[in-house]
Symmetry: C3
Subunit: 158 residues, 3 copies
């Protein structure tokens, strides 16, 4: 197999530490933050906190041909306390606007057992009490997504 990757290097920039307040939409607040702060390239270093409800997107099937569409995806909602165990992802530009792309891992309690779910972060993940997110801006690197012929979606470094 030939491993293939596209790579760009940059440097570290501002580190932004945010406390999201109770009732905020996790993705919505992050999206607002990168717009307010003018972040054009960034990486999520850390995310912890508690949610009162959540909604996650996952891929349930692989298409025979690209692109992946909503027919390949499942959207599931949770209405219970969920700890944010991890938040991974980045901030890139698409068509002139900064966008947050993040995946989360969440834990909950069922009787004497801990359950864990996760997926692509979408709207309707609502902070309960607080969440702390740390984002680092990247300098001297252009993280812009453009249309990629192979996957027929927007991708970095096309």
């Amino acid at each position: 197999m030939t491993n293939k990757y596209e790579l760009r290097s940059g440097g570290t920039g501002r580190v932004m530490v945010a406390r999201l307040k109770s009732g905020s939409d996790l993705l919505g607040a992050l999206q607002e933050m990168v717009e307010d702060e003018g972040v054009e390239a960034g990486v999520i270093l850390s995310g912890v906190g508690l949610l009162g409800e959540a909604r996650l997107r996952n891929c349930k099937s692989l298409p025979e041909e690209f692109p992946i569409t909503d027919e390949n995806r499942t959207y599931l909602s949770f209405s219970r306390p969920l700890e944010v165990l991890s938040m991974s992802g980045n901030v890139y530009m698409a068509e002139g606007s900064p966008l947050v792309h993040a995946h989360v891992t969440l834990s909950y309690v069922e009787g004497d057992e801990i359950g864990v779910v996760g997926g692509h972060l979408i709207e309707e993940c609502i902070v309960f009490g607080f969440a702390e997110v740390i984002l680092m801006e990247l300098d001297n690197i252009k993280m812009e997504k453009r249309f990629d012929e192979e996957t027929r979606t927007l991708q970095l470094f096309v």
Copy 2:
């Protein structure tokens, strides 16, 4: 919905790479480390390793009124090998001392299946063999928690 957040920006500082030795308490060793090194603001960039036993805190119910107390929490213990899949969190000051706030995701094997648990990192998570934790100090940012009227707990940037 109005998304609400409090944000402060700083810069990158020292990066500390630590190997925790077998038998160490994961949180206890990290706590000792930030005290020994005089870290006043930081972010956990990475944590991997193996535990021989673990204890985790999760939120099982949401209070009608803040604060969240131990009545809303479950403490569960595990006595088996558990891989540390992720460690997220930060280091802040409270009442003059540095404190580590971290969440972990852990995996274990049950027959031919992999189970995953997670939660707030508390004491009694004991390293087996080794764990590697990478922490970055943050410069020019004051991460101090103070009493927050809304959540009735200590919070960042009150």
Copy 3:
């Protein structure tokens, strides 16, 4: 209990943002990347993406005496879509070559439920569509693993 750790401090270096293309072996591509780029010390800041198949290593039993060997481990394979929720780990030198040590958390869908698995990243985790990995080089720190008498394996800062 005496907590014990070995610690070295360094500074931040280049930040490398990579998009791994469809069909790539996740570990293989990262390994190729650190060799091509001459990374001698690094930390994985973020990893998100989608896999079409995966293989993970976990520890199923603790040996009475070190070292941990393959008798203590389980290797499990998955053939389905799996979202990469988190990737943690670092890059170090062993016997003159850079090596990637990473743990991953993965989610999948089963009917109306989300399952989560994870473990030590090994070969045969195959990217579907794309994966985005952000790695930061560390400056002024020598991350070399050498034989450790206590655990009878290669360890950092021996």
